[in-house]
């Protein structure tokens, strides 16, 4: 089976092609600028260097947030259109779960994405990527007290005033976890922002 993995939701861009249980192409970088220009040529390179065509892909795995709103939409638009056009199965993955795939000696992994104004996008996962605390948009202090009694390591690409690790993702671990997931209809494959827009929040308050 052939898989395309796309992550543009976090600050670590990932484009991978996996055939059976082997990574055939892996592109990762920590440069989130100019993503919209850079991403398609990287995908093109992924196919060229593996001698595959988009229509050869059996499943597209794509992170659908939370994270940078624009980033999420870039990867997801590609996945939506590709899955719709070529009738490929598409499986959305939480970007926090992808972050939780890092190698660690601790029992639990807490991925954090800075959401400004003392808020984070955060969740809690065990080593097998089982979700212990669902992904949420939450005050950092609140989240920390939620997990304080647990043997936990924080994973983040952002800076905090406590220790976080910033390791590489384990794409295979994530794919294997979701290999039997049902695909979603590309029309309904949408971002999981975990946060209303500020305009919507203000309107709700009224």
């Amino acid at each position: 089976m052939k898989y395309l993995f796309i992550n543009t939701s976090t600050k670590k861009l990932v484009i991978s092609i996996v055939v059976d249980n082997e990574i055939k192409y892996d592109y990762t970088d920590d440069n989130s600028s100019d993503l919209s220009s850079r991403i398609m040529p990287i995908i093109d390179e992924a196919f060229k260097s593996t001698n595959l065509k988009p229509e050869d892909i059996d499943t597209i795995f794509v992170t659908n947030g939370p994270g940078s709103f624009t980033g999420i939409r870039i990867g997801l638009t590609i996945a939506k259109v590709m899955a719709w056009g070529l009738k490929i199965k598409v499986v959305p993955i939480s970007s926090l779960e992808l972050m939780a795939s890092v190698d660690s000696s601790k029992e639990y992994i807490a991925p954090l994405i800075d959401a400004r104004r003392d808020y984070v996008f955060a969740g809690l996962y065990d080593k097998n990527l089982n979700q212990i605390v669902p992904d949420k948009h939450i005050l950092l202090s609140e989240f920390k007290s939620l997990v304080k009694d647990k043997d936990v390591v924080y994973v983040s690409h952002d800076e905090f005033d406590f220790e976080v690790i910033n390791n590489s993702y384990d794409i295979l671990k994530v794919i294997n976890k979701h290999i039997n997931d049902e695909g979603v209809n590309p029309h309904t494959l949408n971002p999981n922002y975990l946060k209303l827009t500020e305009a919507e929040e203000k309107l709700k308050e009224k």
Binding site: D34, S36, S37, R38, M40, P41, I43, D44, P54, E55, F69, T70, R73, I74, L76, T77, I78, K80, V81, M82, W84, G85, L86, P186, H187, N190, P191, Y193, T197, E198, A199, E200, L203
Partner: protein, 333 residues
Amino acid sequence: MDTYILAIESSCDETSLSIIKNGSEEISTVVLSQMDTHANYGGVVPEIASRMHIENITIVIEECLNKANMTMDDIDAIAITYGPGLIGSLLIGVMAAKTLAYIYNKPLVPVHHIAGHIYANNLVRPMEFPLMALVVSGGHTELVYMKEHYSFEVVGTTLDDAIGEAYDKVARVIGVKYPGGPNVDKLAHIGKDTYDLPLPLNDDTFNFSFSGIKSAVINLAHNEEQRGNTINKEDLACSFQNRVVDILTKKTMHALTEYGVKNLIVAGGVSANKGLREKLTYLCEKEGINLTIPEIKYCTDNAAMIGAAGYFAYKLGRRADLTLNAKATDRLN
């Protein structure tokens, strides 16, 4: 051989797809407007617009192809609005277009949003050159001279606010609901021209300025309020509209004479303005100018116009590669 262009437009709050044959014949168009949503906020909220674009994009592509009873195999090239507009909104269309071009191996043709508005006229009847285009929209007010297809010479532009922006601000001051422009236009037709407002940038250039008249309306409203008087909305709308229509038409007619051009086309969202249409129709008839104004559905943002422009850009060999990005540049080319 016929050429079919699949066009995508997502620069503001409309997700639109269209298939256009030979740059002039509309095969199918789908426009998904978000106007009702943004009305709740009194204007377009960029992040909400982007969210709605991504939710709708594949649905609109599919519907457009189905409506035309065509598949991607029937398409010769993909035309895409790359700018100007709201970056986040443009980006959804640009990424979708690049992905379509990539997976179906089709040429990708970048189209400037304003070129699209101008080419909406080619869907009405073939454009005849040389021509002068009056571009009036929320973000633009320009006089563009074209001696042939895809040759754009901007001979006049606003020096500050665009006409549509002035309408929106005036609408807010006199308490008219979003969308402000069309509503002010409606009021203007009920009211009388009783308020003393200046004619904006009434000189011999082809440039425009609307910040002065906008301030004049704001000041007038404030002063009347302080005096405890209520303003007559209809009359103020009428006075404002008369002034801006006067200057737009005056400079346009002047440019036509100066450049010796007999063809005038009007483009952009504000070309739906009834006051402007009426006055231009009257003046052009009087002066023997060949006037084209697109139907209302082609005046607002739509992909049909991008498909029309895209056809000529395609024939000229204009192509974008996979690095194409959404741009917020005004320069028309």
